[in-house]
Symmetry: C2
Subunit: 451 residues, 2 copies
């Protein structure tokens, strides 16, 4: 925060001495901190680029890369192409493509011809991969060597390659057609005899991911094998790029934010809480609430149909919140467990039968236990056996239904190639509310007709 | 899965040829895959240790380290101390302490004297840190050098240290009292002139974390600075250990699973879905549902108090699900956003005023918009202006209340040093249901008295 205040100080001062001091102070900071301070300060995009240019070394380039993509986009759209070139050229290839996809067409067309030919080719290659796949988050700046080298020549070559590579902690060994033959960690390279051949020390039992793999699955591969980077390959096992662990952490965090938003019925958004403009925040919340409000009218309609039953026994109304709430809670419990289990790869489609049996038993147990509790509460308080029986039977039936639906719907959605996380949200809960109320009145109607 | 079937094949066969073949097949697998296959197979703990012993090389040790802590615990408790020693001695120090904390006292007392003195000291040191802090997840196996070395001697020393260190990609430079002076990445070391002094090339602008820092915050540091490892220091900046990025990924995943469970009202548990025994799963769900059921009786009581109003206008009951649901949804929306924002470090306690103003405006906007929608639905369907006014006014008031409560409660809990994530769960939603119903009947009572 202090750093951001310093930047504001610099912006508001015309004293060249202040300028020099503040710029020197910035130079000594970590690029991530410089980026954070610039975002928090009052600097306009043009001033921001100006400050970065004055920092003027490798750190400015890194700080620009750490800015949010929205901020980078504004800078690029407002700055002149020549000034921005240095920043854009030095970004990581995957982030650069994301930025170039975000900016206006004319801005992109102004800067593209200035970028070196080799870099332009890399951009075109990365451009084609679909969002959310391994190909879209990989970088093309990895260390690659031929297998016929010795350890000492490999280290020599690596010293030359290193400044331009995102990581040199894994070295990828390929043939002339870029088929991936093996991997050597820098650690193993350092520890091997200088005269040893790379083909003798490389690990050939490779872990790689296909370019079309979902990035959530890629995150699972990292967490299972404790990797720092993973190679991305095409269907002929040719090396296309690598994904590094720092990108994976960002992916995991973004995915769980998205899941949280879905569960809490907010349309997904990327910005930080305070940075999201009020109208857009309103919109992403309003849409969902309106959909849910109309869905909840299902319950209203069901109750209107059952007005006669309600007239006959008004105290039925008192337990609607209990039946609705318990039913919704149980459904959400099982849905969330299954969704999370699927996300972590513990549950797959073929487990449907097992999940059904497990949740059938669980629903009966929970329904029996909670139904008995409710029976005693109603009976002791209202001295009404009929009401107590209705509430208890309704709890058993609705809990069973909600539990099974909650567990099986994520699997069903997966089968339909939809996102299972949708079910853990309030839309299903609202439909379950209506289902619960329908079951409740149906049971009341039947029991009152019999006795 | 095939690998697990192979292991079952091995267990069920008495043919020594089959044994040899399956063991050779296992030897060629990644340690993580061997561990996964062993967990999925029918192998008893004693058979599991037997199979690992036969694999007999470095991979067996690594595979043991990848087993779940429950499985490691059973192996350790059932195997003999002498056999288990090799596996325990080669675990990472932080995981080893977790395991030794988990096993029975007598098992621990049997194995501890067998462990080498230096390792025993490391265990004692790590033992003292509180769960959930940086100290509890750090490892003591890091590469450390003195600053007066040259690059070439540093590389020599590193070659000797490397086999025992968890990572050598950062080298920590300390003085004789272990005060952290600087960090050199292996990359920079490789790229520097062999004759350069470490003190000249080390980065002194250090990022480190105190041992008592919450691990969720540590994860935030990794994601902000794109680190592979971070040093953990005491209050005098003496180096205590390091945390590596693979542990951080596990931490992030465990924390979000815990948050999901909390939001969906399941008591937190660590096991995978199918591995959790049914009685314990029942228990972790039942407790919450029972608490929520009793909480929902609040709503019942409020409705019983208002029986007279309900008798006078029974159609009020029809809109209870709508008022309850919308109120709960809006509260969950704002609570989840704030909780997530706090977890990601975007919102802190000092932002309370800003959050209040923002959510006050948001509540009024949402309440106004949804209230008008409900007004027209009720009026068009039921032709009852009074009912329409009651429902609309109730929606406005309850949305405003739920929105503010949802946003401010996480901050209030944080101030009370409780976990803010508690508020995003269904307990608060159930209390909000009751609040919504109370407001609804209060408004109905007032409007019906006036007109």
């Amino acid at each position: 925060m202090t750093l951001a205040l310093n930047i504001n100080h610099l912006l508001n001062s015309i004293d060249p001495q202040v300028h020099r001091e503040e710029i020197v102070a910035l130079r000594n900071q970590h690029p991530s901190d410089i980026a954070e301070a610039l975002e928090e300060s009052d600097a306009q995009p043009s001033q921001l680029v100006e400050i970065l240019s004055q920092i003027g070394n490798h750190k400015a380039v890194e700080a620009f890369a750490q800015l949010s993509i929205e901020m980078q986009q504004t800078c690029l759209e407002e700055g002149n192409a020549q000034t921005m070139l240095r920043f854009v050229e030095n970004m990581e290839p995957d982030d650069r493509v994301d930025l170039l996809k975000a900016v206006d067409d004319d801005v992109r067309e102004a800067i593209m011809p200035l970028i070196a030919q080799a870099e332009r080719n890399a951009i075109r290659k990365l451009w084609q991969y679909e969002e959310g796949t391994a190909g879209a988050v990989m970088t093309t700046e990895y260390a690659m060597l031929a297998q016929n080298l010795t350890v000492s020549t490999a280290l020599e070559k690596l010293r030359l390659q290193a400044p331009n590579k995102e990581t040199i902690y894994y070295i990828y060994i390929t043939d002339s057609e870029r088929h991936l033959l093996g991997i050597i960690s820098l650690r193993d390279l350092i520890m091997s005899k200088p005269s040893a051949g790379l083909d003798a020390i490389m690990e050939t039992n490779l872990i790689s991911v296909p370019h079309e793999m979902d990035i959530e699955k890629v995150a699972g591969v990292f967490s299972k094998y404790d990797l720092l980077a993973v190679p991305v390959v095409d269907k002929d096992k040719r090396l296309l790029g690598i994904i590094t662990v720092d990108d994976v952490i960002d992916i995991i965090e973004a995915e769980s934010t998205e899941d949280f938003q879905r569960i809490s019925a907010v349309l997904p958004f990327d910005e930080e809480y305070f940075k999201r403009p009020l109208p857009r925040l309103f919109w992403s919340r309003f849409i969902w609430l309106a959909v849910l409000l109309f869905t909840s009218l299902l319950s209203t309609t069901i109750m209107e149909w059952n007005a006669a039953v309600l007239n006959q026994m008004m105290s039925l109304a008192f337990f609607i919140p209990m039946v609705m709430g318990t039913c919704g809670n149980a459904g959400t419990q099982s849905a969330t467990m299954i969704v999370r289990g699927m996300a972590l790869g513990e549950i797959s489609l073929k487990d449907m039968g097992r999940v059904f049996r497990r949740e059938l038993v669980m629903g009966l147990l929970l329904g029996g236990a909670l139904g008995s509790m409710a029976y005693f509460r109603v009976f002791l308080q209202d001295q009404d056996i009929m009401l107590a029986c209705i509430v208890a039977a309704a709890l058993l039936a609705t809990l069973l239904a909600a539990n099974l639906l909650g567990a099986l719907m994520p699997l069903a959605l997966k089968k339909l190639k939809l996102d299972p996380a949708l079910t853990a949200g309030p839309f299903i809960a609202t439909i379950m509310d209506a289902l619960g109320i329908a079951i409740y009145f149906q049971i009341a109607f039947s029991l009152m007709a019999i006795f």
